[in-house]
């Protein structure tokens, strides 16, 4: 008879081989990554092998009930996840209610559940929400706090660190913002936990590095996906996206052209062609040993910096704000430098990673209550923070990531009476930034 146990991120089989198991020469047992637990069980059942399963520290099942009533598309998402054997990724836009789908999943499954989230702010948000819905104490594991309960919220970092101890205590894993899971440092969570049931939540799954493909193995395939357009006007606010091409100032244009001519000149002189991200990486590596390459790289970076942080954009921003004087607005940039410039010039409160936590909460609270009508921020509010509702988003600069674009759009999409949300994107005309903009809004 085979005896299955859990040991430090592995399922250990004593008494015979199991699929994905490797022989541990020292002990004579077979060890398989914990996430294969479910497949191992299925295999043993199918083959009629006698076994004793001691992998999980089983407690009594959870009796939970909430008053949540799901919308039609949320029901469909939950059913699709159930049909897939309680595994898979649900892709819904920001504001469409991903959290409630997960709460219903926890309720209906009745298994101890670990909710893995990327930020401390989300830990608190999830805990509050789960306690409100279920009326039970919810555990929290993060740096400095370690309180494990049948329903526990944990950060991605702590989930990696605590995998040995928690890997066999939860039947269900819920990954909020699951697009983080494929990151090299977090991928181990996918493998070290034995939980047979898994749900991933995200607004935009794709990663620029293509690593999201690995999610299929750890969480399951996409079981339900709905895009912003399908919900706009019904469950989300109606919205419009406008891209405005803003010319650089003559001085900026001259400097931009000069920077790019140094960059192009170098590439031509060395016969280098940049056709992919990999080519560009090679060029950056070259700049570590070749001062000319370094000069070209810095010239390019300066030119891009000018395009992204152009003075003209600040002037256009003033015009936009004047056109929508009563709208609650979020202004997004790529770099903190521009955030603080705008904050000082237009006297708008700023939120960046340097903003003290208390001040950030206070600023968001005042934005919510209407004391402040605008906030300027870089990338910290893109995700993982519950940002009060706004109706106007102005994107002054960003990455080429469609995920970032969709998340920023999501910040203004919460449904409101007669609300018409707007996203205005300012792009420096005739610069490489136009390509960045096309890339991010191509989806």
């Amino acid at each position: 008879m085979i005896r299955l146990t859990f040991d430090r991120g592995s399922v250990v089989s004593e008494g015979g081989p199991v699929p994905y198991g490797k022989l541990d020469a020292r002990s004579g047992n077979y060890r398989a990554p914990a996430f294969r637990y479910r497949l191992i069980l299925e295999h043993l059942e199918r083959e009629g092998v006698e076994y004793s399963d001691e992998v999980f520290m089983r407690g009594s099942g959870l009796q939970l009930s909430s008053n949540i009533v799901l919308r039609d598309y949320q029901k469909e998402a939950l059913e699709a996840w159930r049909d897939e054997g309680h595994r898979g990724v649900v892709v819904l836009p920001t504001g469409a209610g991903k959290t409630v789908v997960a709460i219903k999943a926890i309720e209906s499954l009745g298994e101890p559940a670990l909710i893995v989230v990327p930020t401390l702010v989300l830990v608190e948000q999830w805990r509050t929400r789960l306690e409100e819905e279920f009326g039970v104490d919810v555990g929290v594991v993060r740096g400095g706090a370690r309180e494990v309960r049948p329903i526990t919220v944990i950060t991605y970092d702590s989930a990696v660190l605590r995998s040995e101890e928690l890997g066999n205590r939860f039947g269900l894993l819920v990954f909020d913002e699951v697009h983080h899971l494929p990151a090299a440092s977090y991928r181990r969570i996918g493998t070290l936990y034995a939980a047979p049931y898994r749900m991933g939540l995200t607004a935009t799954l794709s990663r620029e590095d293509g690593a999201h493909v690995s999610l299929i193995e750890y969480v399951g395939r996409i079981v339900y996906e709905m895009e912003v357009d399908e919900l706009a006007g019904v469950h989300l606010a109606d919205y419009s996206v406008e891209t405005i091409q803003v010319p650089l100032t003559p001085e900026e244009q001259m400097e931009y052209d000069n920077g790019f001519s140094i960059y192009r000149g170098y590439l031509q002189s060395r016969g280098i062609r940049i056709r992919s991200a990999r080519d560009y990486q090679r060029f950056v590596m070259r700049s570590g040993r070749d001062p000319e390459a370094r000069r070209a790289l810095l010239a390019r970076n300066r030119a891009m910096d000018l395009a992204m942080n152009s003075s003209s954009k600040v002037e256009y921003l003033k015009r936009i704000l004047l056109s929508y004087p009563d709208e609650k607005a979020l202004v997004f940039t790529r770099h903190n430098k521009l955030v603080y410039r705008i904050s000082k010039e237009i006297l708008i409160p700023a939120i960046t990673h340097q903003t003290p936590g208390r001040e950030r909460e206070e600023t968001l609270e005042r934005f919510k209550s209407g004391v402040y009508l605008r906030i300027v921020t870089s990338q910290v509010l893109d995700e993982g923070v519950d940002v009060p509702d706004a109706s106007l988003a102005v994107v002054l600069s960003g990455t080429g990531s469609s995920r970032q674009f969709i998340q920023r759009l999501g910040r203004v999409l919460r449904k409101g009476e007669g609300k018409q949300a707007k996203l205005v994107e300012l792009v420096s005309k005739g610069t490489a930034e136009t390509r960045v903009s096309r890339r991010r809004s191509s989806r």
Binding site: S27, P291, L298, L322, I346, E362
Partner: protein, 380 residues
């Protein structure tokens, strides 16, 4: 001053590591950087950083530019520009701005004027204080000038110290004897001294991780050595830190050597004589000397020196407080089942986190079985 690890420039070949020193050819860069720092007195750190990043385009190795800048930064005093509490200022300004839109300079002045009235300050102070808590907003208040050639020599000194900070072992040979050097060596690591026919040799074994205070003594050591007439230094260096095998670094006295410490700032922050070893108290009742030394960046001898307050029994690299040892032995003697799973459970019950090293130190052997918990534990 010790260069940041990422700015170290070296060439490694066939087991030998050589620092890439700055040479006289780079004096123009040194001049430029000195003038950039000088011109930025009264400006913000952010502006200085931007100007320095522009210097990386001058065609020199960017790590040299950054290294020289680090050396110069050590001669700077930065301070806050604000006179008011920045978070209070922000609250006042943004509340005043409220729902209004700043479309012109007049709008802006109006809001700042109203906020400064509320806070009882001037608009000038208000503006300077608004984000004075950001590092980039700090003001370069003083910069102590330096000759470009001295800067290059000072850079080379900092580069050599930075590299030696990655050494596992240093051998220093010099004419005569120097109690000062011997004293400095003993502060850096485990030091052995020998004197043969008027020539001294100091052999220093350094911990895997060099603490700040120890690195400062290394700096002092090199300063003394460079002032001597005839010397040679050989070190086993592990750089970059992830590299698997050490490389040999050799430096010796020679005429016109371009390595010299920069004169310290007029008012050194810490006098070398009052520099203290880190005050760490090792409190655990079971101390694995090697692991603790590695964790704290100290030698085993230093860890022994820090163990205070309790009477310990030395079990050969494992120090166990007398009371704890009795407790452990009593727990083990009461065991009828000497299988590892049971032994571990009992030892954990008396506060032993890692049973195997302690068992080995007590003279037990674990005969590992396929099932770890079933392994037999017996005393030799």
């Amino acid at each position: 001053m010790i260069l940041p690890s990422e700015d170290i420039r070296v060439r490694r070949r066939r087991g030998v590591i050589r620092p890439v020193y700055a040479s006289e050819d780079e004096v123009s860069l040194a001049k430029t950087l000195v003038s950039v720092f000088g011109e930025h007195v009264g400006e913000t750190r952010g502006d200085l950083k931007e100007a320095l990043s522009g210097c990386e385009m001058l065609g020199f190795d960017y790590r040299l530019v950054r290294g020289l800048s680090s050396v110069l930064e050590d001669r700077c005093v930065f301070g806050s520009r604000g006179v008011l509490d920045p978070s209070r200022v922000r609250r006042a300004v943004f509340e005043e701005a409220g729902r209004r839109i700043v479309a012109s300079e007049d709008d802006r002045k109006g809001i700042l004027g109203a906020a400064s009235f509320r806070l009882g300050s001037s608009v000038y102070d208000l503006e300077r204080s608004l984000y004075a808590d950001l590092q980039d907003e700090q003001e370069l208040q003083e910069f102590e000038q330096v000759e470009p050639m001295d800067l290059l020599k000072g850079y080379n000194f900092s580069l050599l110290v930075a590299l030696l900070a990655h050494a596992r072992h240093i051998e220093l040979t010099y004419d005569g004897d120097s109690p000062e050097l011997r004293d400095l060596c003993s502060r850096i690591g485990e030091c052995k001294h020998s004197n043969v026919r008027g020539s001294s040799m100091l052999s220093i074994k350094l911990p895997a991780r060099l603490s700040g205070y120890r690195a400062s003594h290394l700096q002092d050591l090199l300063t003394v050595v460079l002032g001597m007439k005839s010397w040679s230094l050989k070190a086993e260096v592990v750089y970059p830190p992830r590299s698997k095998k050490p490389h040999t670094l050799e430096v010796r006295s020679q005429k016109g050597i371009m390595i010299k410490p920069l004169q310290p700032r007029t008012e050194p922050l810490v006098e070398a004589s009052v520099r203290q070893a880190p005050r760490v108290r090792v409190r655990s009742k079971i101390i694995d000397l090697e692991r603790t030394a590695d964790r704290l960046g100290l030698t085993e001898a230093e860890v022994r020196g820090m163990v205070k307050g309790l009477s310990y029994v030395d079990l050969g690299g494992m120090l166990v407080a007398e009371g704890k040892l009795q407790e452990v032995e009593k727990a083990l003697s009461g065991l009828s089942d000497m299988r590892f799973g049971e032994v571990r459970r009992v030892l954990r019950g008396v506060g032993v986190k890692e049973p195997v090293p302690l068992l080995e130190a007590l003279g037990y052997v674990v005969e590992w079985n396929r099932d770890r918990d079933e392994s037999l534990v017996y005393r030799i």
